[in-house]
């Protein structure tokens, strides 16, 4: 059932030797070598793997990325522009000091991974590749191990207080053939709070791993905007470990993008923790294919924790949506409240949706449930709006936004939520008919 580590991988990776790993200090060299070892044991993903049956891994593991032309935004302001934030800019995976703000802030320690990795001792040692390695059981995630071994840069953030200005990572994409591998490590200390924003196409092919460790009573909020550049491909992993009474909330908006797979692996290890993951994906396969995959694994290993998975997909012109979600409730995780929702709205006959909402429950005093639906726009609702004089395209847009509302509601900050809604509106306006 679960993909256990096999001694002989079906698809062995090209040999990663010590001299191909990015040069680092002692701790990072060890972490990279361990990750390379994990990858060698598990092998690269193939279509025969249970968790890759609906998404082709081929273009994510090829030697060279498929070229992707940089997107011309024209006069369009990038998302999150109106928000006061600490900006950190990577261009095709390379840190851009001139475009970035000074790496500091009250209650914040920010460093580049490249700098932290160069040192012989660093606090990130206890997290880098550590949460990723924990997240490899019971389901292997070889591309995350690859990232830990090969990541060239990223940010390392320690949050010690209530940080009011969000930290914003902006990924610019300029080079048509760039292949970026970034890895971030975030530690939210006891009672501290951070909001992390991410946006931009990043590269022709982008591999991103974020490891987040939230201490007792800490809060981590994450809002990510992907896509816009249609040709780019992305594989992202979020590994989070949550202590008692901590809060983790992550929302991802994806508008277009040939291939996106977002994996999120959450562990609730302290009592009364809260973990929410949400996503709104809109895809139009008219010009090129659109394939969007959300793969989520939430483990409840403490008492009275709450988890939510809310994923919505709006698909048209052959766009494909995939949802693979799982809630695992361990025997001691009594009073768990887990809910998983995966819904797709298919705007035409060619769109398709595949879902596997799984539950694995070993505790008896829990509320765990899931709902998954797929279908076309509700003709009755459309008729209702049209009979009141609403033009058809506006009526459709209204119903699509209403469909996405549950996911957007997962964003706590109203200003950011409005910014996201405006972008979704923009997509709808561009993709009418």
């Amino acid at each position: 059932m679960t993909t256990a580590l096999k001694s002989a991988p079906k698809n062995p990776p090209a040999q990663i030797s010590a001299d191909t790993l990015p040069a680092s200090g002692a701790w990072a060299t060890d972490a990279r070598a361990d990750a390379a070892g994990r990858l060698a044991d598990m092998g690269l993903p193939t279509r025969r793997d249970e968790y890759w049956k609906w998404t082709k891994p081929d273009s994510l593991i090829s030697a060279q990325p498929d070229p992707a032309e940089a997107f011309d935004y024209g006069s369009e302001a990038p998302i999150f522009d109106p928000i006061d934030r600490v900006k950190i800019v990577f261009v095709d995976g390379v840190f851009d000091a001139d475009a970035s703000d000074p790496l500091d802030g009250e209650g914040l320690e920010i460093e580049r991974l490249a700098d932290a990795a160069a040192r012989d001792i660093h606090w990130a040692k206890d997290l880098y590749g550590v949460l990723e390695a924990r997240g490899q059981t019971p389901v292997v995630r070889p591309l995350a191990a690859y990232n830990t071994a090969m990541a060239t840069d990223g940010v390392v953030i320690r949050v010690t207080g209530q940080v009011n200005r969000p930290v914003s990572i902006i990924y610019r994409h300029e080079d048509d053939t760039s292949d970026a591998v970034l890895h971030h490590v975030i530690r939210v200390e006891e009672g501290a709070k951070l909001t992390l924003l991410e946006n931009g196409a990043a590269a022709a092919r982008f591999s991103d791993v974020t490891e987040v460790d939230v201490a007792d009573g800490g809060e981590f909020h994450h809002i990510r905007a992907q896509g816009r550049c249609h040709d780019r491909q992305a594989i992202t992993h979020m590994f989070a470990r949550l202590a008692a009474a901590s809060v983790f909330k992550s929302f991802t908006m994806t508008v277009n993008g040939k291939l996106t797979r977002n994996e999120c692996v959450l562990e609730l290890l302290g009592d009364e923790g809260v973990a929410h993951v949400a996503g709104a994906a809109l895809g139009d396969g008219a010009d090129d294919e659109f394939h969007h995959d959300d793969t989520v694994f939430v483990t409840h290993d403490a008492v009275a924790c709450e988890s939510r998975q809310v994923f919505k997909k709006v698909l048209k012109n052959g766009a494909k949506g995939v949802f693979q979600g799982k809630i695992l409730v361990k025997a001691d995780a009594q009073k768990t409240d887990g809910y998983q929702k995966s819904q797709s709205l298919l705007l035409d006959e060619d769109a398709s949706f595949q879902a596997k909402p799984e539950l694995e429950i070993y505790a008896d005093d829990v509320i765990c449930s899931h709902g998954s639906t797929s279908g076309a726009i509700d003709e009755d609702a459309l008729f209702y709006l049209r009979s009141r004089g609403v033009p058809p395209h506006i009526a459709t847009d209204l119903l699509v936004l209403a469909f996405l509302a549950d996911a957007i509601e997962e964003i706590e900050d109203d200003v950011i939520a409005d910014e996201v809604t405006a972008r979704l509106d923009g997509w709808l306006a561009r993709h009418r008919g």
């Binding site: 596997k356 909402p357 008896d364 449930s369 998954s372 639906t373 797929s374």
Partner: protein
Amino acid sequence: MAGMDKMNVKEGVEEETVEAVKSLAGTYKYGWETDIEMEYAPKGLNRDIVRLISEKNEEPEWMTEWRLGAFARWEKMVEPEWAMLDYPEIDFQDQYYYARPKSMEVKPKSLDEVDPKLLATYEKLGIPLKEQMILAGVEGAEDVPAEGRKVAVDAVFDSVSVGTTFQAELKKAGVIFCSISDAIRDHPELVKKYLGSVVPVSDNYYATLNSAVFSDGSFVYIPPNTRCPMELSTYFRINAENTGQFERTLIIADKGSYVSYLEGCTAPQRDTAQLHAAVVEIIVEEDAEVKYSTVQNWFPGDENGKGGIYNFVTKRADCRGDRSKVMWTQVETGSAVTWKYPSCLLRGNESQGEFYSIAITNNHQQADTGTKMVHLGRDTKSRIVSKGISAGVAQNTYRGLVSMHPKAKNSRNFTQCDSLLIGDKCGAHTVPYIEVKNNSSRVEHEATTSKVDEEQMFYCRQRGMDEEEAVALIVNGFAKDVLQALPMEFAMEAQQLVAISLEGSVG
């Protein structure tokens, strides 16, 4: 079920539910053994054994070749590991693949000639092999007016069919109901045409094994525009030790026909696990309807998990014709290990598939069961209602597939699967696969008491019920749906389950 007395049952689970599960899984009533002289094929599995089974059944050459072809494929296959089941490796060479009571060596011409020991066995199981007005001997049935209801029974004992009742009366209606070995001899044209057409020889590991070594089973043919005059039933009994039972059932419902088919099964209580790998194929032509109901009550193993039946079953219905309909109802209470996914291929336009299941696991039982609804024709409908109940240290998994193909326009699926855990040492799991490839179809998958139909809730609330009462009413209504889908004969047995409410259930 000493274990459950000490178990901490969560608040909110009704006493009645616990009692009902206890009484069901308490003592295995059918664990006795018939002392009868048996004749075995040598232990192990090879081409010679396959030939021997074919010879014993006096089969024509084409059938022998078919089996050998299956065996050759099986040898190249690997046992699947994806189910959430954990059992010691099965030594397929340490089994008997054919066991027949000595007295069956010369096939009895009528039920009067059958060994009285065998007849007594079925009598004791509550399945009298007599042509009389019967309600298949189910406990409590005497309270129900029989009103001339008849059930024809095909009784399978280890590897052979002992006899089939009411054959003459069925023949008058044009219905063929006999053992599959008789059908291979007497109706080769039908068997050749349909055998393996729904579950191909190489479908999966256990089905391929079954294709090579099946020894007997039932065959049903309902001619066009015929309503089968009585319910048909097969009762499977495993008696011999270290012997696998591999039965094959083939049901063909021709255009406009109707049949209700019941299946029951039991086995003696033993310390060693025994293998059961069956295949059921159903062909449903235009406007035909088949109801297939099972109460699976194989020996589940003792409370320490010793012994029990390993039950690997492939059941599939092919709704070939337009407006054809199939309904699977199963009450799964037995077996140490259950691996079973009764499926519907909805090929015909406007065809319908339904799956109602209650799976109860206790002690060390493990069940990985569910259904597949494959929508291929337009305007097809399917409904899945599955209730899993786990107690002791048992594991209960619902695994299902709903697939809407691009041509299955305007199709509809509704899935509801609930689980209940009694005690804190067991597990309940849900693994649904949903694949939607057109947008005019609607697929809904739900799994919680709090997500009951809002209109129904509103209706109840409006009439003054509080929320809890309303939910209880609606959910109980749902559980009864499964039970009411059972024919009278099984409903009696399943009535013990009606008390089970799904309060506190998890998806």
